[in-house]
């Protein structure tokens, strides 16, 4: 048997488990969204705990429910939403790496907090990349275990490399508690003003920056819809243009939408600006009905924070 064909067997996939990396770049001009891990903060911690390259593919487990059988002896790391993981029935610590023996049963429950848990494995899950990435974009039928954009299903084999003895013996590591976010805490989103910011009147902007917005249930990897004080941009539509990650657009109903990893590449709604991506990652871990606020952020501050973040993780 080819050793690289074994890894983890999927017993139950949960509501939505996707293979993700940092995304598929270079094809947005053809209408392909970059995709990739919705919360890069948790994703990158998973790889770091295992000493992986930061781009190693991991599983993004939305709302839990994933049950796996290990067919390989290796290390894994659990980060992001707290899915109350159990190994052979025993609870596993979160934001931590763990040793796994062939035959072990790994069970992820439903999130106590957050939305998306990340399961990283030593060396990363191994699937053939499509246009340079394994990132799953279901709508576009790109990436994932079959290369055609489907989520992880029961019966799938999720291959991963066999660690060397030295890798396997790597000290188990956890994230320091001061770096672990609490996804139930109130969140203030830094907004870099730009694009159609001047389509919004001063009164609208004051209202926008001084009120709470609630996350709608109709949110997904494309975007998070917010509900609160309606805004009235003038004019209400623009010529479609490219949309960056974290853009805050306002459709005719006046309720802002934050555009995330699986967003359409171009769109014609006016935009207030773009969130600091670190805040967009945190936003994607907020459960529906949570409330958020906005604050203005300068471009320099947002770029400085982002640069420190990526340098820390070696991206």
């Amino acid at each position: 048997m080819n050793d690289s064909d074994t890894g983890f067997e999927v017993l139950e996939p949960g509501p939505l488990t996707l293979v993700q990396d940092l995304g598929r770049f270079g094809y947005q001009h053809l209408g392909l969204s970059p995709g990739g891990a919705a919360d890069e903060h948790a994703f990158l911690w998973g790889n770091r705990l295992l000493g992986n390259h930061p781009k190693c593919p991991a599983l993004e487990v939305t709302l839990g429910g994933l049950v796996l059988r290990a067919h390989k002896t290796t290390q894994i790391a659990l980060t992001g939403a707290d899915l109350q993981a159990r190994l052979n029935g025993e609870p596993l610590s979160h934001w931590h790496s763990h040793r796994i023996e062939a035959g072990d049963r790994l069970e992820l429950g439903y999130p106590a907090s957050g939305v998306r848990g990340y399961l990283a494995v030593m060396g990363g899950f191994q699937f053939p990349p499509v246009l340079g990435s394994v990132a799953t974009v279901m709508r576009e039928k790109m990436g994932g275990p079959d290369g055609q954009g489907r989520p992880v299903e029961a019966g799938d084999c999720l291959p991963c490399p066999t660690p060397t003895a030295r890798q396997y013996d790597r000290r188990l590591m956890g994230v320091l508690s001061r770096f672990i976010p609490d996804y139930r805490q109130p969140l203030t989103l830094g907004l870099v003003a730009g694009q159609q910011h001047d389509h919004f009147r001063g009164r609208d902007l004051a209202r926008f920056h001084n009120s709470d917005y609630r996350l709608s249930n109709r949110s997904d990897r494309m975007g998070i819809r917010l509900e609160g004080e309606p805004l009235k941009p003038e004019p209400a539509g623009i010529l479609s243009e490219g949309i960056p990650f974290g853009a805050v657009q306002v459709p005719p109903d006046g309720q802002p939408i934050v555009l995330l990893k699986d967003r359409q590449t171009i769109g014609g709604y006016p935009k207030l600006g773009t969130l600091c991506p670190l805040h967009a990652f945190a936003l994607s871990q907020r459960q529906p009905q949570s409330t958020v606020r906005f604050r203005p952020m300068t471009l320099d501050e947002a770029q400085g924070r982002l640069r420190r973040f990526y340098r820390f993780f070696g991206v």
């Binding site: 770049f25 001009h29 209408g31 246009l131 010529l239 243009e241």
Partner: protein
């Protein structure tokens, strides 16, 4: 007068604006700028230093430039872009256009274009006249988006402008040729969609295994060529 200006689009992107209106005159300018900046999207030869630019997204009157914030900040990249685009006007007067003409064969028929008869009735035209008016014009590609390889083509003969469906279809088959308001397009892959379907092409408009992936880019010109059912099937078209 400058042809364009640069604005920030958050910490990982900036946007070049060439105008505010839908104008076919802008397309060769944006295309030429995209081609020049593509050099910054390639990895530096020999090294594994990542490219300065990750993505270039041209659309109607803009060009979004996505970049790696670790390697660049807004000011330095804006400077590089200004330098790279110096003399763009000259390029254009030397080589007007630069886009290709792409002919797309279409079998116009109610069997694969379930809205063809309704569009004809809506405008008080015969089906043959709708086909004639749709296929006699050359359409510039304004943008690609919505779905992989979905090209926005404009402008329709104004007498064909038809509102979108009240409720989008769950699935529009790949190759469907459609129109909505002033624009027309081909659905490259099966997706939900609310445009009016007139027919279907046997041509592949997006294929991840195909070199180039997509035969169209902004600034190209599309001409629809009516074909018969026999020609459609012979070219590999699928009726269902």
């Amino acid at each position: 007068m400058a042809l364009w200006h640069i604005e920030n689009a958050g910490p990982e992107a900036l946007i070049l604006r060439f105008g505010e209106r839908m104008d076919p005159q802008l397309l060769p300018v944006i295309r030429a700028a995209t081609e020049r900046l593509a050099a910054l999207k390639e990895p530096a030869p020999g090294g594994d230093k990542p490219p300065a630019i990750r993505d270039l997204v041209p659309s109607y009157s803009t060009l979004l430039v996505c970049y790696d914030p670790v390697l660049n900040d807004f000011r330095s990249l804006s400077g590089q872009i200004r330098q790279c685009l110096r003399g763009l006007e000259q390029d254009l007067s030397d080589n007007r256009g630069g886009g290709r003409l792409v002919e797309i064969p279409v079998w116009y028929h109610p069997q694969v274009g379930p809205d063809l008869e309704r569009v004809a009735r809506h405008h008080g035209l015969s089906v043959e006249e709708v086909i004639r008016r749709h296929s006699q014009r050359d359409y510039p590609v304004y943008a690609i988006g919505f779905a992989p390889g979905f090209a926005y083509l404009g402008n329709l003969d104004p007498t064909l402008a038809t509102p979108r469906l009240d409720s989008p279809r769950q699935t529009v088959p790949a190759g469907s040729v459609a129109l909505a308001e002033q624009q027309t397009a081909v659905y490259p892959i099966a997706t939900p969609g609310g445009w009016n379907l007139l027919g279907r092409t046997p041509m592949t408009l997006f294929d991840p295994d195909l070199e180039g992936l997509c035969p169209l880019s902004p600034g190209d010109t599309v001409r629809f060529v009516p074909i018969s059912r026999e020609q459609f099937l012979k070219a590999g078209g699928v009726e269902e």
